[in-house]
């Protein structure tokens, strides 16, 4: 298997503080409204009625930090009408701003909402895995910023050997669609993709 760099997030440690999201915006100088990394607050479950008293039952809440997954099957690259999207030898998927015509087709296709249109540059942009830092042997800004040390970064096979292969926490889509280069460590309430009874609680932040 070719080299594939990937992100890791431990959902036990993530508190939903969004330091990663802010570090990303800062590092890549993103305008208002463009969030390459986003933290989804996901909640669900119901209360049960016991002798007229409502008692919390299987109520749960957790946060999922996600960005471009630099997928093994990048649907963005497949649908892009130009040669703007490419995958490097180390697996990083990049959009070339000089070639992108801003047709937004990739954002229709990517199930992770990763490509986001930059109204100032008039092109599509997305997480570039801080490839400039990576090329210098450093780690992406989000990974470094996490105060809980919930994130990690490295070759996918190494991360999988260390942390497992789970890549389907709800509200993220089924990982079969694009085979994302990501590993999540579930916590004890984490639901899987396709879970029907949960909802996003911070829509206005996404």
């Amino acid at each position: 298997m070719a080299k594939q760099l990937a992100f890791y997030v431990d959902l036990n440690k993530c508190s939903g503080c969004k330091a990663c999201q802010i570090a990303c915006k800062d590092k890549s100088n993103l305008p208002v409204g463009v969030r390459w990394r986003r933290v989804f607050q996901y909640e669900g479950g119901e209360w049960i009625n016991q002798n007229g008293q409502m008692i919390p039952s299987n109520v749960y809440a957790y946060s999922v930090s996600s960005a471009c997954m630099h997928c093994a099957k990048p649907i963005c690259m497949e649908v892009c009408p130009t040669s703007a999207i490419s995958k490097r030898d180390d697996g990083i998927v990049l959009i070339n701003a000089d070639i992108c015509i801003g047709c937004r087709y990739c954002s229709w296709a990517c199930p992770y909402g990763a490509p986001q249109f930059n109204e100032e540059l008039n092109v599509m942009t997305k997480c570039d895995m801080c490839h400039d830092l990576v090329d210098k042997g450093e780690r992406p800004a989000c990974v470094e910023s996490c105060p809980y040390r919930a994130m990690d970064f490295g070759p996918l096979n190494e991360l999988q050997a260390k942390y497992g292969t789970f890549a389907d926490p709800a509200p993220l889509p089924d990982s079969n669609i694009t085979e994302p280069a990501v590993v999540y460590k579930p916590n004890k309430v984490t639901k899987s993709s396709g879970n029907a009874n949960g909802r996003l609680m911070n829509l206005e932040e996404l």
Partner: protein, 297 residues
Amino acid sequence: MDTREWALLAFTILGQTAAGLMIVLMIVRTYIAAKAGNDLADRLTNRPLYIVVPVMAVAFIASLFHLGSPLHIVRAVPNIGSSWLSREVVFAVIFMVFAALYTFLQWRKVGSLGLRIAIGWITVLLAAAYIYAMGMVYMITTQPAWNTIATPINFVIGSLLLGTLGMAAGLIAGGHKAEETNIVHTVLQALAIAAIVLLGIEFIVLPIFMAYLATQGGAALQSLNMMVGSYGVAFFFRLLLLFVGAGVLAAYLYRNASIAEKEKTLASLAYSAFALALVSEVLGRFIFYASHYRIGI
């Protein structure tokens, strides 16, 4: 919907009209040639032909308003290996080049009859490929309301409908001599029947498609709710206008075409049928773009 999406809407509808018209036009041309000779066939079909390229040109101009950075196109290498959007654009361009060539040959009567007919049919094949690619653009696995066979079918039916009624309008608008009335009326009747058949197919596909969305749940169901909920009024008018244009008016067109000396009535019927179908297609495309939900986040 913002400007960019209206631009996309204009590009697809105008492109469909131009390509659909080209296809129907060549069929009509072949029919008239067989019945009344090539000279008349050329004369009656050249007028509608002259609008194909201008309509396509406007479509291209509209498409630029959809793009964030249209100037980057000069640096962009098309990704025809895997992208249907790329294929759509490539087919659109080649279609327009051939349509322009055919129009020029017909206009100046350059080239032998055989050559002109061959170029005409090549243009038809390109038009068909273009329409097919246009529909396939929306077959994205993460867009359940688009990713059904109903999408390419709708694009094909829509194109043929606009082409059929556009041809009827173009044919009658071109004018004809008294001794040509018979053949013109026969063609108009055939076009009217074609429109009614296309309407019938559309009305069969649509309920099946909606029932399918309902059974899928998730993003597909959300789209369905959007279509009949928030856009319910637009959806109703889309169907109503389609029914009146391609059904009722087409039926009147058929009836009046059996009576001689009804040219004025026929013209009004053909124009309004085309206009209603066009508005209906615009509404339909508007709903199509406005009510899709992507899988995921």
